[in-house]
Structures are given as structure tokens and as C-alpha cells.
């Protein structure tokens, strides 16, 4: 189709769309107008009608009010006014009825729902009218006061209600009006939208079609333009692809024909020149064509790129300019080239314009013309800087690798197939003591022991057979005879797919081996000690235990309990450790709280201590327990547990109990004895005193009456009574050695003796005695009893003297060791009182220390014979002894042995 036809068609299309749009818009306008009219037709008259009703209502109301007012006036002056108002009222009523009727008609016409409003208005209107009549009637009758006021109020209320009902109806109508308005507006909006849409659509269509057409045309014109350019450049193969039947198509066809003709005229020659040029330019290598003087006549792009010189800088210059020195392509090279006519593979270097060194691989060959003469040289060069870099990296890596092996701590070596060394690193030299030069002449068999030789042989064989071997431990004999233990792993060395040797790496494990041996030895020691400990624990007669325990923070664990628990309690170790609190649960209920408290206190104090409590054995017996506990602390000093030994002290406690009871009885016995002694002595002495007293009276009052013998009898009586008294005193003293015993304190024997001597001063003077005292020590003793002792001994020494000789008494002491004393009190003090008196036969030794035993008659020496018995009692009480050495007329030595140290026994 022709172009013009297309254009016309397009315009027509657009025009018709536009007119359609216009028509549509007009039509919509008409529709809107009509619907608006329709919608408005209904509510407007309703409103009008309702307003009329309201108006009428107002009339009625106001008229009513006026009438009442006029009627209420006392004067009759306003008769005219009244009549006017009455007329108004009637008018109002009439209007009301009319308006109401009209409203009703409208409702019926439209059949609308407003009928409900009508009913309400009617009703209220009627009420109002009625009330109005009533009020007027009342006013006429001149009724005033409450009645009429009431009516007025009702009237007012009804007025309000009436008006309200009308307003409701009005509101409804207004509502409808608003709805109608909204509907219309919506319709308008819709129509507007549609119109706009159409307009838009039309517009777009016009643009698109315009663009399309113009493109269509200009496209094809462009194609023509391009094609002719290409042809101009020599691409005679170009064909214009426009096949339409219109004017442009015709143009295209004629152009094509023209090109075809051109082709035939043979411009191909020119094209082929370009072809060759392209080849040269596109090869990556540098290409120079030189003339016979080595000047550059041709070059390619690569030459420019590589050397950095521009084409002009290179063309016409000698190729030697590519290096600063004259070494490139020197005369020697030229000769060689001429001889061979082609050289290749020469590694050399050029210098770029910026003086960068470029390594190249160079080849050159002579160009012969058609006559065979040299017409030029063609040179090709490859940039081998990359290759050079790679080579250098490789060399570098290899060196690094070598260094690594050399510096390794492990021995690294290689063997050939027969086991001879082919290399050895520095570590290998150090450890074996052989240099690598020496090693190269040795095989591995020479550095290992005979036992290992076979192992090695097998290993190598297996290796060569392809089996991968695990590590092997070998003992290497170093050059200096020392032994080195290596842990060796080895693998095969391949070259070109064949095995050429074995590489091995050996780690020095000499130290490790030594450490392992040491560890084994220590372990054995530990095991021995453990066994010893076990034996000890098994033999201790107590439960040894250890626990990580915190009484405030369960769970605890009982870490260890010795087997003795079975013997002591009957529970097995498993039962005892079954729960951490087992030990607590078998404590006697009375002791449980106290024991737990004591454990906690001990734990807090971090010290060791002893607990006593009762356990109940498995078979129900109660046993007393003493537990010696120690708190375990960690290095920070915090308690982490307890350990201890627990022993059965039931027997001990029973013994203690018995002792306690016995002691109690003893004490009581002593007290009773004392009381008895006191009372006895007191009461016994009483009659004696009387005897003496009356004897005295007799003597003084009736001395002249009593004759010599009477006086003599009296004297004897008195003496007897006196003796009795002394006897009783002595008995009392004797018993008091035990009952009035005082606790042991350090007593200075010398001081006591001097006091005694001072008490005996009179006797000493009377007898003219000489007393010598040596140093006497201080010992633990009862001071009073020591005094008694010394008094008795010295008193005796004074008493039993030869009649004609003054007594000589020596008192001394010495220390001796305790040999047989079951008190085990160590050192003993021997007190000796020696006199030169009458002495005695030692066969009476036992008798003299007995109570009331005397060796002499009463008349020879006085005394009741209790003194030495008291001394013995005192010595015994002090856990000592008393004895004497004597012979008749030779004096006596009394020896009292007393321990230096005493334990104060508890007296309760």
C-alpha cells in the first residue's frame, strides 16, 4: 500500500475517536440533568408542605395565647382585639388542616414511608388543638389559678411535642435530599472519569500511530544511508534489505543493482592489501622487517606496544636502537645469520622506551626476492618476561624447599634402592655425627644395630613392593658410639613413574624414651607405696576415712573408708558410703544434734579436733566412738574436706565410768571416815578431859588428905588419861594424812626443814643437838605433810639419842633415776636424815613403820609409835617410799624417796 494511503487512514481513525468521545460527553450531561430533576422532585414539595403545617401550628399557638391573655384582662375594652384573634385562630386551624391534607396527598402519591410521620403529626396536632380549645374555654369562664396553670403547662408540652414531630419529618426529608445530592454527584464523577479516559485513549492512539508511521519511513531511509556508506568503504557485498512495494522499496532495489556492478570492476586488489596488513597487525609477536642495513622498514602493532616507541620513532632506524649497548645483533650475529639464513630461539633482551628491560625470545630469517638475493630480514620476537618470572619463582621455591629440609629439626634423608644414602640434611649430620659426604658412602644398615638390620631390610622390601608402612622406631648408632632413638616415617620417591629411592624423616625421640622409662619407674614406686599404705590401713584398729564434705552444702562425698568399718560396725564399705550422711544417720539420736554442731564448728575453725559420740552398730549395739578429725584445706586455705581416724572407745569409757564411780565412793568413804574421825576424837577426848580435870581438882583441893600412894595413883591416872589423849590425837593425825590431803604444789624442802627446826628450837637447845642441812631441792608435794614428815623424822632423831652424847643430825638429798616406778615419773629425790643416835636392829625395819609399834618401853622414850607410820603414809601418798638403814648403837639413816613431779589427781 502506498504511503499516502496509510497516512490518510491514520488521520481518519483519530478523528473518529475524538468525535465519539465528544458525543459521549454530551450524552452524559443530559443524563445527569434529567436524574437531578427527578431526584429533586420528590423531597422538595414535602418539605414545603411540612413547613406549612408548622407555620399553621404557630398561628394556632400564638392565637390561643393572645386570646387567653385578652380574656384574662379584667376590662372588656379589647373586644375588637379578641374578635381579631379569634378569627386568626380559625384561619390558623383552617390552614393547618389544608397543609396536613396536602402533605397526606403527597405521601400517598409517592407511596413513601413518611406515612408514619404523618400519623404522629396528626395526633400531636389534634392534642394541641384540643388543649387550645380547653384553655380558651377556661379563660372565658374566668377560671384562674391551678387549673388553668396546669392546662397551660400541658399546652406548652404538647406544643413542643407537636413541633418536634414536624421537625422529625423535616429532618427525614432533608436527609433524602442530601442522599439525592450525593447520588447525583456520584453520577457526575463517573461520567467525568469516563470522558477523560476516552480522551486520553484517543490522544495516545494518535501519538502512537504518528510515531509508527514516521519511524517506519525514517528507518528505511537510514538503512539506505548505511548501505551506501558501506559500499563507499569498499564492502561491495552489501545488499539493502527493503522489500516493500512502495517508493522506498524501489529506491533500495536500484541501489543494490549499482553495487553489484561496482563489484565487478575489480577493486579487490585494494582489499587484499588490507587483508595482509591485518594479519601482520593482529599477530601477538613483534614483527620487524628490516632492510639489508638492519633498518626497520615495517613493523606491527605489537612492536609498538612492547617497545613503547611510536611507529615514527622506529621506522627508518636500526634495530640496534632497541638496546643501549651494541650487543644486540652485532656483527657476529649478522655473520651467523648470513651463514644459516635463519636463526631462532635466541634469548636476549631489549630496552623499552622507558628503559625497562624486556626479555625476549628472538628469531630472524633472510627474505629472498624472486632472484634469490637477500632483500631484507624479517625478525620475530616474543616477550618472555612472564616465562622468566615463572622460572625465577620456581628456582626460588626450590631453594626454599632445600632450606627447609636443611633447617628441619628432624633428620631428613634419602636412600637409593639398595639402602645407600643419597642425601642427608644437617639435622641428620648432627644427630649421627657423620657428614653428608661420609653418608653418601654408607648405607642405612651401617648405622643401625644388628637386631634392627633385618627389620629395616624387610621394611625397605615392603616399601618397594608398594606397601605403605607405619612409623618405625630405630636406634641409630652415632659416629661417637652414642645411641639416638628416631621415630622414622618413610615413603617412596618416584621419577617418571618409576621408584628411584626412599625418602625418610626421623624424629629424635631419645628424650621421650627416657622420660617414658622414668615415668614407668615412678609409677612402680607409687604402686609400691600404695600397697604399703593399704597394708597399714588394713592393720590399724580404727576406721580411717576421708571425705570431701561441707556440712552446710550437700552433696558431700565420702571418698574413702577403710575396711575396719566392717569389724567396728558390721556395715560393709558399700553400705557405709551408700549415702554421704550415713555416718550421721547411725549416730545415737541423743548425740546427733550435738555431734553435727561440733563437726560444723570444727569445720569452720579449720583445725583438727576430737569428737565423742555414740554409733549404733548394724546389730543394734551402742558403741562409744572417738573421732580424731582433721580439716583438709586447699592452697587458698578454704576447707574442702575432712579426714580422720575413728576408734571404738567403749571399753575405755566403761573403764572411765567405773573409775569415776569408784572415785566417788572413795571420796565418800574418805568424807565419812573424816567425819567419823573427828566426831570420834572429839567425843573420845571429852571424858579424858574430865578425868584430867577432876584429877587436877583432887590434887589441888585434897592434896593434904591424899597420902603418898593416893597422890601416886592420881598421878598415874592423869598420865594414863594424858596418854590416851595423845593417842587419840595421833590417830587423828594419821587418818588425816589421807582425808586432809592437799593438792601437790612445788615445795621448797629446805625452807620447810628450816621452819621445822625453828619449831623444835627448844628441844634442840635442850639436847644440845647439832643439825647440818645440805641443799634440799624443790619438789611437788603437800606442804603440810612435808612439814609433818620432817618434823617426825627430825623429832625422832632428837629423841632417840644416847644419853651422854649430843645428837648430831645431818639432813641431805640426792637425785636418782626412776627404774621401776609404774608411775613413770622420771627423776626421784632421795631425802636422808642421818643421826648418831641409838639405832635399831634392821630386823625390826617393818615393825617400826607400823602403827603403834614401839621398840622401847614407855618409860625409856615417850611417844605413841605413830610417827613413822605417819611418815610412811605420807611417803606413799606422794607415790614414794621410806626406809631406813641402821644398826644398834650406830645411829640410823632414814631415807625418803619422793618423785620430783606429781600429777594432781582429780579428787572428785
Amino acid at each position: 500500500m502506498k504511503l499516502s494511503h496509510k497516512l490518510i487512514l491514520g488521520y481518519l481513525l483519530v478523528a473518529s475517536l475524538a468525535s465519539f468521545t465528544t458525543y459521549f460527553a454530551l450524552h452524559s450531561y443530559q443524563n445527569i440533568d434529567e436524574s437531578f430533576k427527578n431526584l429533586m422532585s420528590e423531597p422538595v414539595p414535602m418539605i414545603k408542605s411540612l413547613e406549612a403545617i408548622k407555620d399553621a401550628g404557630f398561628h394556632i399557638i400564638s392565637s390561643t395565647g393572645e386570646i387567653c391573655f385578652i380574656l384574662s384582662l379584667s376590662t372588656n375594652s379589647n373586644k375588637n382585639g379578641l374578635a381579631e384573634e379569634e378569627q386568626q385562630l380559625i384561619d390558623g386551624l383552617k390552614k393547618y388542616r389544608e397543609a396536613l391534607k396536602h402533605y397526606e396527598e403527597l405521601i400517598n402519591t409517592h407511596n413513601s414511608s413518611e406515612i408514619k410521620f404523618l400519623e404522629v403529626i396528626k395526633k400531636h396536632g389534634n392534642d394541641l388543638i384540643q388543649t387550645s380549645e380547653q384553655i380558651i374555654a377556661m379563660s372565658r369562664k374566668r377560671i384562674t389559678g391551678e387549673e388553668i396553670l396546669e392546662k397551660r403547662k400541658i399546652f406548652e408540652a404538647q406544643e413542643r411535642v407537636f413541633l418536634q414531630s414536624i421537625d422529625n419529618a423535616l429532618l427525614n426529608e432533608y436527609g433524602e435530599l442530601t442522599n439525592a445530592q450525593e447520588t447525583v454527584q456520584a453520577t457526575i464523577a463517573r461520567a467525568t472519569d469516563r470522558t477523560l479516559l476516552f480522551t486520553f485513549f484517543t490522544f495516545m492512539l494518535a501519538i502512537i500511530s504518528g510515531l509508527y508511521i514516521s519511524r517506519h519511513i525514517s528507518n528505511r531511509i537510514n538503512k539506505l544511508k548505511e548501505a551506501s556508506e558501506k559500499v563507499g568503504q569498499g564492502q561491495l557485498e552489501t545488499i539493502i534489505e527493503i522489500k516493500t512495494n512502495d517508493e522506498i522499496g524501489a529506491l533500495a532495489r536500484s541501489l543494490n543493482k549499482m553495487v553489484g556492478d561496482l563489484k565487478k570492476s575489480g577493486v579487490e586488489l585494494m582489499l587484499s592489501k588490507n587483508f595482509v596488513d591485518n594479519i601482520i597487525n593482529s599477530i601477538a609477536d613483534v614483527l620487524f622487517v628490516l632492510d639489508t642495513d638492519l633498518k626497520i622498514i615495517r613493523l606491527n602493532q605489537a612492536a609498538i606496544d612492547l617497545t613503547g616507541f611510536s611507529k615514527d620513532e622506529l621506522i627508518g632506524h636500526s634495530i640496534k636502537m632497541l638496546r643501549n649497548d651494541t650487543e644486540f645483533f652485532n656483527d657476529q650475529d649478522v655473520e651467523e645469520l648470513q651463514a644459516k639464513s635463519c636463526v631462532s630461539g635466541i634469548e636476549t633482551f631489549w630496552q623499552a622506551k622507558d628503559s625497562r628491560i624486556i626479555p625476549i625470545l628472538f628469531s630472524a630469517s633472510i627474505i629472498h626476492d624472486s632472484k634469490g638475493e637477500a632483500s631484507g630480514i624479517v625478525c620475530v620476537a616474543q616477550d618472555i618476561s612472564e616465562r622468566k618470572k615463572i622460572e625465577s619463582t620456581l628456582r626460588h621455591n626450590e631453594e626454599k624447599y632445600r632450606e627447609l629440609i636443611e633447617n628441619a629439626n628432624d633428620v631428613v634423608y634419602t636412600l637409593d634402592l639398595s639402602g645407600g644414602f643419597t642425601s642427608l640434611n644437617r639435622a641428620g649430620e648432627q644427630k649421627t655425627g657423620y657428614t653428608r659426604a661420609e653418608a653418601l658412602h654408607m648405607s642405612i644398615g651401617e648405622v643401625v644395630g644388628k637386631e634392627d638390620l633385618e627389620r629395616i631390610g624387610q621394611r625397605i622390601a615392603k616399601n618397594l613392593a608398594g606397601e605403605v608402612q607405619p612409623n618405625i622406631e630405630l636406634e641409630i648408632n652415632a659416629k661417637d658410639g652414642s645411641k639416638v632413638m628416631l621415630d622414622i616415617s618413610s615413603r617412596l620417591i618416584y621419577q617418571d613413574g618409576a621408584v628411584v629411592g626412599i625418602q625418610g624423616i626421623g624424629r629424635d625421640i631419645t628424650e621421650r624414651k627416657r622420660a617414658e622409662k622414668e615415668q614407668a619407674r615412678l609409677n612402680e614406686q607409687i604402686e609400691n607405696q600404695r600397697q604399703r599404705l593399704d597394708t597399714i590401713i588394713a592393720n590399724v584398729q580404727g576406721v580411717i576415712w576421708e571425705t570431701r564434705i561441707n556440712p552446710d552444702d550437700p552433696p558431700n562425698r565420702l571418698d574413702f573408708v577403710s575396711d575396719y568399718v566392717v569389724t567396728m560396725l558390721g556395715y560393709s564399705v558399700e553400705e557405709f558410703t551408700s549415702t554421704p550422711d550415713f555416718w550421721l544417720s547411725i549416730i545415737h539420736p541423743e548425740d546427733r544434734e550435738r555431734t553435727l554442731r561440733e563437726v560444723k564448728e570444727l569445720y569452720k575453725s579449720k583445725q583438727s579436733g576430737t569428737l565423742e559420740f555414740r554409733w549404733i552398730t548394724k546389730d543394734g549395739r551402742v558403741i562409744w566412738i572417738e573421732s580424731r578429725d582433721e580439716i583438709i584445706c586447699n592452697e587458698k586455705g578454704k576447707q574442702i574436706g575432712m579426714r580422720g581416724v575413728t576408734i571404738d572407745i567403749t571399753e575405755r569409757r566403761q573403764a572411765e565410768e567405773k573409775l569415776r564411780i569408784f572415785n566417788g565412793k572413795l571420796q565418800q568413804s574418805n568424807r565419812e571416815l573424816q567425819d567419823f574421825a573427828y566426831v570420834a576424837s572429839h567425843d573420845l577426848q571429852e571424858p579424858l578431859r574430865k578425868v584430867q580435870a577432876f584429877a587436877d581438882r583432887l590434887n589441888s583441893k585434897y592434896a593434904d588428905v591424899l597420902t603418898g600412894s593416893g597422890l601416886d595413883y592420881l598421878e598415874r591416872m592423869r598420865n594414863a588419861a594424858q596418854r590416851m589423849q595423845t593417842l587419840i590425837q595421833d590417830l587423828l593425825t594419821f587418818s588425816r594424812v589421807t582425808t586432809k590431803a592437799k593438792p601437790f604444789v612445788p615445795v621448797n624442802l629446805e625452807k620447810v626443814t628450816r621452819e621445822v627446826l625453828s619449831d623444835l628450837e627448844v628441844s634442840i637447845e635442850q639436847s644440845g643437838a647439832t643439825i647440818e642441812i645440805d641443799d634440799l631441792p624443790e619438789i611437788d608435794a603437800d606442804p603440810t605433810q612435808m612439814r609433818q614428815l620432817m618434823q617426825n623424822l627430825i623429832g625422832n632423831a632428837l629423841k632417840f639419842h644416847h644419853k651422854d652424847t649430843s645428837p648430831f643430825i645431818k639432813i641431805s638429798a640426792q637425785t636418782s633415776e626412776n627404774h621401776s616406778n609404774d608411775n613413770g615419773n622420771g627423776r626421784l629425790c632421795e631425802i636422808m636424815v642421818r643421826d648418831n643416835g641409838i639405832g635399831f636392829d634392821e630386823k625390826y625395819l617393818d615393825r617400826i613403820f607400823t602403827v603403834f609399834q614401839r621398840l622401847h618401853g614407855r618409860t625409856d622414850y615417850e611417844g605413841s609409835g605413830v610417827g613413822l607410820a605417819v611418815c610412811r603414809k605420807i611417803a606413799e601418798r606422794h607415790h614414794g617410799t621410806i626406809t631406813a638403814e641402821s644398826s644398834p648403837d650406830k645411829g640410823s639413816t632414814f631415807i625418803v624417796v619422793l618423785p620430783f613431779k606429781q600429777l594432781n589427781e582429780e579428787l572428785n
Binding site: Y678, Q685, E686, K690, A693, D696, R697, S700
Partner: protein, 153 residues
């Protein structure tokens, strides 16, 4: 040294008749001018002092100027009697001297606690007894001021 013109009675309480006799003899030997009366035990002593029982008719009798009191007596012993005397407002001014065989420390302490005026252990010999009586008389009736006889306040 005041000469006492009044006849002051020394009253001795002792259960032992021998001791009573000996003391009376010693009294005579000492030539004291006082009256010497004896009672047998604590009960009699209190009866005497309160003018009751055996002594109920003796209301006019003056209180003794000194009481010599043995400790161990039947029915009521000296310690009880001492307590009663020293707790009685009308009797406690009378000096009481305990005269007993007992040397026991508890007896000495106890009686002093109860307010005894002196404690004397009965001498063994007769002469010593005479000495004691003489000294007592001299001490209590010549040296010491006795509380005047008057009504109770």
C-alpha cells in the same frame, strides 16, 4: 575501871553436869562477886531469858550480864539458841561468849556470823579454867562498858 555495884548474873548453858560443876568451882576460885547460874540446854536457856516454863514466875529477875554458851547440847543446841538471842531485840544486847570443846573452824565462823561476842575453847586443866573465868570477869565487868539496863525503845 569501874566497880560494878549491881549484882550481875553470869548465866552458863551446858549439858554436861561435870563441866557445870567444874566451872562453878572455877568461878568460886576466881572470887568474882557475880551470881552464877546454870541451865542445861538451849530450851532452858530461852525459857530463862523469856521468863517462861520453869522460870515463869521470875519476871522480876534481871537479864544476865553475860551468857556462857556451850554449842553441843540436846533439845536445842547453842547455835540455835545464839541465833534466837541475837535475833531477839530484847535479848541481843546481852554479851554471849561461846565456851565449847570444839575447835572446828566452821563452828568458830558460824557463831561469829551469828553475832557471838567471843569464842573460847574450854581449857583442859582446872587452873586454866580458873584463869579464863577470872579474865572473863575482869574483861567483861571491869574493862568493858556494858549496855545500860533500860527499857526497849
Amino acid at each position: 575501871m569501874r566497880q560494878n555495884s549491881r549484882a550481875i548474873t553470869i548465866l552458863m548453858a551446858d549439858d554436861d553436869p561435870d563441866d557445870r560443876m567444874l566451872t562453878r568451882d572455877a568461878f568460886e576460885e576466881s572470887r568474882l562477886r557475880n551470881e552464877f547460874e546454870t541451865v542445861e540446854d538451849g530450851e532452858e536457856l530461852m525459857d530463862y531469858l523469856h521468863h517462861r516454863g520453869k522460870y515463869s514466875g521470875e519476871a522480876a529477875r534481871a537479864k544476865p550480864g553475860l551468857i556462857l554458851l556451850d554449842l553441843n547440847m540436846p533439845r536445842k543446841d547453842g547455835r540455835e539458841a545464839l541465833k534466837e538471842i541475837k535475833n531477839s531485840p530484847e535479848l541481843r544486847r546481852i554479851p554471849v561468849v561461846v565456851l565449847t570443846t570444839s575447835k572446828a573452824d566452821e563452828d568458830i565462823l558460824r557463831t561469829y556470823d551469828l553475832g557471838v561476842n567471843s569464842f573460847i575453847v574450854k581449857p583442859v586443866t582446872f587452873e586454866a579454867m580458873v584463869d579464863v573465868i577470872k579474865t572473863l570477869g575482869k574483861y567483861w565487868f571491869e574493862m568493858v562498858e556494858l549496855p545500860p539496863e533500860g527499857d526497849m525503845d
